[in-house]
């Protein structure tokens, strides 16, 4: 039975057959009896007063069942969308939380803001009728970038947030930091924009809400990463419905990357309306709607300075960031540029003092929230651009300057709140340099120069905090929710197992990885284990998937439940084998009396639990079904080294990535194939940020210029290389699997590695992301 242990084996995915044969079941694939359809009327203006809405013509259009506007919403006395994280500002005051209405209340605050919803028999009818809704707008001046929004006299978006400021927040010792700067031998200062991105999961957001009169319950199918939190927020904070009367199902979900974590207005409006029209209502975003209604990512303007002594040892780091919140606070928008950003500014280094100040700013744009990496890519960009630039300025090899500053002893308390449990940064860097053949780079550069091409090499040594999060710590930092995870192991009489997890898979392959964990521990085939997720009606509870937390937190909850299963199994086995509980050991799927050949297999114990004829009824309940909740003791700290080599054609400005190497330490690895896939995907999103993707708003009128795939440049197959990936392992010290999380690493590490390579190739100090051929060509040819 030893071969049942598949930890570390690239087991092929259980979910693939259905996806490959068109049998996946995504929200838009669900069509219910008497299905109706919704279309939202959205603001075409970035900032406008709504003077009136006429719906009479639209109501008479064929097939229309109902139309609701902000007035109906106010009359129903339901709440706004809540923000899940309270940030306390530098003066001890709570952040400003203007109303985030599900249907606009008298004013539209971004292009795409939802004004009304039309519900009809077919989607085309709803769409046709939506065009007949007449909205009388008084257009107001708009502001779309953080610097302009903070200027005196800027258009004011919310009365509740004077100066468009949500909060000014700080972390670290300002006095000590300033003092260190005053005596530094060298200071490197950079100013940069961390470009706004659109997550763009290929499955658009979708909702199908229905109401059952017989038991007054609601069912909501939704493309979402954490259905229990969706339900909690919607029932307790917005609609005031009994939580037990709402079932949220997130079936197959076509990618999330953060954008499907949140409670969105469409989800709430359809749930509410499904009772009023007494029909199931479906809405699926058209891509152009996704661009103006899915939460965006990044959008920082930062000034950052690194102080060094004469040997290149880091003395202090000082960072000032203006972070866009967009028009409203999205579910976790407030914690991204603070808790998930400034706490990571130590990076892999022993920088003794750090001070970060963050101003969160409302702009007339789509709300900004967590997008793959969430705060950590922004922090890594700050640190790794500064480090590389300082190395060049001080003529120290960029790998050497990093080695001089690496944290080498653990646990390590950073000056920005986190305590790293373990890592080996020299090991990942050395391995990456070997794979990338850094030693051979000068020759390759010379050879490229002969062909008129410019080669450059860039490093990025990132760290991230994953396994989010110890609830008590998160709570002290402002989280309004716990961040544990729940799981259940249901052993059936036949010895087959159904696993229920509060984590959610939308591409990560939990149905395989989690089955490997369970099957390996129980000594049964992976095929005997099914994983259920994404349904509040079947799964006990869950906090969902984001922050690379699924295996570290959700997987550990399963291990705890497995321990309970094995413990109960031992008692049953002891009874069957007429031994004492303490003498039973469980290994490779067999319960055995230690030191003897008396044994009973797992399947027999399972059967006995459900057919308890010969059973210790005085001591044990029948059945073999255990649950566990797990609240982590600390964050996990995946870290790694990325090395990018580019070749630039100065005549065209085209940057070719000729080599991208990523060596990561994710702790122990359950399924290497899946982990590598996560790295590839993350790297491509990071390369997208650095090379192709930019969400652009028109500064005059606030229109979204990049509102489709024609204008927003998603990385395509011919924009990216095949990657070289490797791993080094230091096992996480505080969870039983020793795992850290791998989902976001690529998106965190890649952008600075790529920009460091481009600036190296061109011999320049800075280039703005995305480094498009135009920007690169201008830099290469020194034209503005």
């Amino acid at each position: 039975m030893g071969d049942m242990n598949t930890i570390g084996v690239s087991v092929k995915r259980k979910e693939d057959y259905r996806f490959l044969t068109g049998a996946g079941n995504y929200t838009d694939d669900v069509t219910l009896p008497h299905q109706s359809y919704a279309c939202f009327v959205r603001s075409p203006h970035a900032h406008a007063k709504i003077k009136g809405i006429k719906t009479d013509k639209a109501l008479k259009a064929p097939g229309v069942l109902a139309i609701y506007t902000g007035e109906d919403w106010a009359a129903a006395k339901v709440g706004g969308l809540p923000c899940g994280w309270l940030i306390t500002d530098v003066n001890g005051q709570p952040m400003k939380e203007p109303l985030h209405p599900c249907l606009a209340q008298g004013k539209a605050n971004h292009v795409g803001d939802q004004i009304a919803v039309v519900i009809a028999e077919t989607y085309n009818q709803a769409k046709d009728a939506a065009e007949l809704v007449e909205v009388d707008y008084e257009v107001l001046p708009a502001v779309v970038d953080v610097a302009s929004a903070l200027k005196k006299g800027a258009p004011q978006i919310h009365e509740a947030a004077p100066g468009n400021t949500c909060y000014v927040w700080a972390l670290g010792d300002k006095g000590a930091t300033d003092k260190a700067f005053a005596s530094a031998a060298h200071v490197t200062k950079l100013e940069f924009i961390n470009n706004r991105l659109v997550p763009n999961a290929i499955e658009p957001r979708a909702v199908n809400a229905s109401y059952a009169r017989h038991d007054e319950s609601y069912t909501l199918y939704v493309a979402n990463q954490n259905p229990h939190v969706e339900r909690l927020l919607m029932t307790a904070f917005v609609l005031g419905l009994p939580e037990q009367k709402v079932r949220v199902i997130a079936p197959d979900v076509g990618g999330g990357f953060g954008s499907k974590i949140y409670l969105y207005a469409e989800d709430v409006v359809l749930t509410w309306a499904s009772k009023h029209v007494n029909r199931p209502i479906k809405w699926t975003a058209e891509r152009s709607e996704s661009f103006v209604s899915d939460a965006h990512g990044r959008d920082h303007a930062t000034t950052a300075e690194l102080a060094l002594d004469k040997d290149g040892k880091f003395l202090a780091l000082r960072v000032h960031t203006k972070a866009a919140m967009g028009a409203y606070l999205s579910t976790f928008g407030s914690c991204v540029p603070t808790i998930l950003y400034a706490t990571l500014l130590a990076g892999q280094y022993t920088t003794p003092v750090i001070y970060a100040e963050v101003t969160a700013v409302f702009t007339n744009t789509v709300p900004v929230d967590a997008y793959r990496g969430a705060g950590r890519p922004e922090a890594t960009y700050v640190v790794e651009r500064l480090v590389e630039t300082a190395a060049r300025e001080m003529k120290i090899d960029p790998a050497e300057i990093r080695r001089r500053n690496f944290i080498k002893t653990f646990p390590y308390q950073t000056p920005v709140a986190l305590q790293y449990d373990i890592g080996d940064y020299e090991a990942t860097l050395a391995e990456a340099m070997k794979i990338a053949d850094v030693a051979g780079f000068p020759a390759r550069r010379a050879e490229a120069a002969k062909r008129g091409k410019k080669r450059g090499l860039g490093y990025s040594c990132y760290i991230e905090a994953c396994g989010i999060a110890p609830s008590a710590v998160a709570g002290a930092l402002g989280a309004r929710a716990g961040l544990f995870e729940a799981g259940e192991i249901r052993v059936h009489p036949t010895g087959k197992v159904t696993v229920f997890t509060g984590s959610h898979s939308h591409g990560q392959g939990h149905e395989t990885t989690f089955a490997q964990v369970v099957a390996s521990r129980l000594g049964i085939p992976v095929g005997d284990v099914d994983v259920v997720h994404g349904d509040t009606g079947r799964v006990l509870f869950g906090m969902g998937t984001y922050g690379s937390r699924s295996l570290a937190v959700g997987g550990t909850a399963l291990v705890k439940a497995l321990d309970k299963v094995v413990n109960k199994g031992k008692k049953i086995a002891a009874h069957l084998l007429e031994a004492s509980d303490a003498d039973i050991e469980f290994k490779d799927g067999v319960f055995k009396v230690a030191g003897t050949d008396k044994a009973v297999p797992f399947g027999s114990v399972a059967l006995t639990a459900y057919v308890p004829h010969n059973y210790p009824h005085d001591k044990l309940e029948p059945g073999l079904n255990e649950q566990a909740f797990y609240d982590p003791a600390n964050f996990t700290f995946p870290a790694g080294s990325h090395i990018c080599e580019v070749e630039i054609d100065p005549d065209t400005g085209v940057t070719k990535i000729v080599n991208f190497t990523a060596v990561d330490d994710f702790g122990n690895i359950v399924n290497p194939m899946i982990v590598e896939g996560q790295v590839h995907g993350g790297l491509t999103q990071g390369i997208g940020q650095a090379l192709t993707e930019a969400c652009v708003y028109d500064r005059e009128n606030g229109q979204l210029v990049t509102g489709s795939y024609l204008d927003y440049c998603m990385p395509r197959a011919d924009d990216v290389p095949s990657y070289k990936v490797g791993t080094k392992v230091t096992a996480c010290t505080h969870n039983p699997l020793g795992v850290k999380g791998c989902g976001e690493a690529g998106a965190i590490g890649a952008p600075p590695a790529l920009i460091n390579a481009i600036t190296d190739a061109l011999g320049i100090r800075e280039i703005e992301m995305p480094a498009t051929p135009e920007r690169v060509w201008r830099a290469a040819n020194k034209k503005d």
Binding site: K12, Y26, N124, G254, T284, S708
Partner: protein, 153 residues
């Protein structure tokens, strides 16, 4: 209007509006929901099917343009006994899919790619997959899968 065609080897007919897209006919009228819609500008390729033996984006065609056509969707690619097509098998073997949403379109494009370019180079594969967006895999394993499948097709 009434329209007839062959889909996955079976004759079908349906009543559609003149503006109905081919992908809407496939998903809504025929309930073949394996063909997906990921954008509204013909850019993402999630809706790719085969029409008369060629890969086409079914969101870029009116249903009426497919009158009398021979249509193959992802549901018709595997053998009747469930055995996967070599391209599907290669995607599974090489982890060429994660969330699965772009996958049907990607696989249908890839089958056409190998038909037009037997034994393609990595460069050819990447260039020819230009019409299909994937946000999960970074394309690395898709390229590997297409290369592997080309040796078996």
């Amino acid at each position: 209007m009434k329209i007839s065609m062959t889909v996955n080897g079976k004759p079908v007919s349906a009543e559609v509006e003149t503006r109905t897209l081919l992908v809407t006919l496939i998903r809504e009228n025929l309930r073949l929901t394996g063909t997906h819609v990921g954008c509204d500008t013909g850019q993402c390729g999630a809706c790719t099917i085969h029409m008369n033996g060629q890969a086409v984006k079914s969101c870029n065609l009116l249903a009426l343009q497919a009158e009398g056509a021979d249509i193959l969707t992802i549901e018709g690619l595997a053998k009747a006994d469930g055995t996967l097509h070599p391209m599907q098998e290669a995607f599974r073997e090489h982890h060429g899919l994660q969330c699965g949403f772009c996958t049907p379109g990607m696989v249908m494009s890839a089958v056409d790619l190998v038909k037009n370019h037997p034994n393609p180079s990595e460069e050819t594969i990447r260039a020819e997959l230009d019409g299909n967006l994937c946000r999960c895999t970074g394309y690395h394993n898709i390229v590997k899968a297409v290369k592997a499948a080309s040796a078996k097709m």
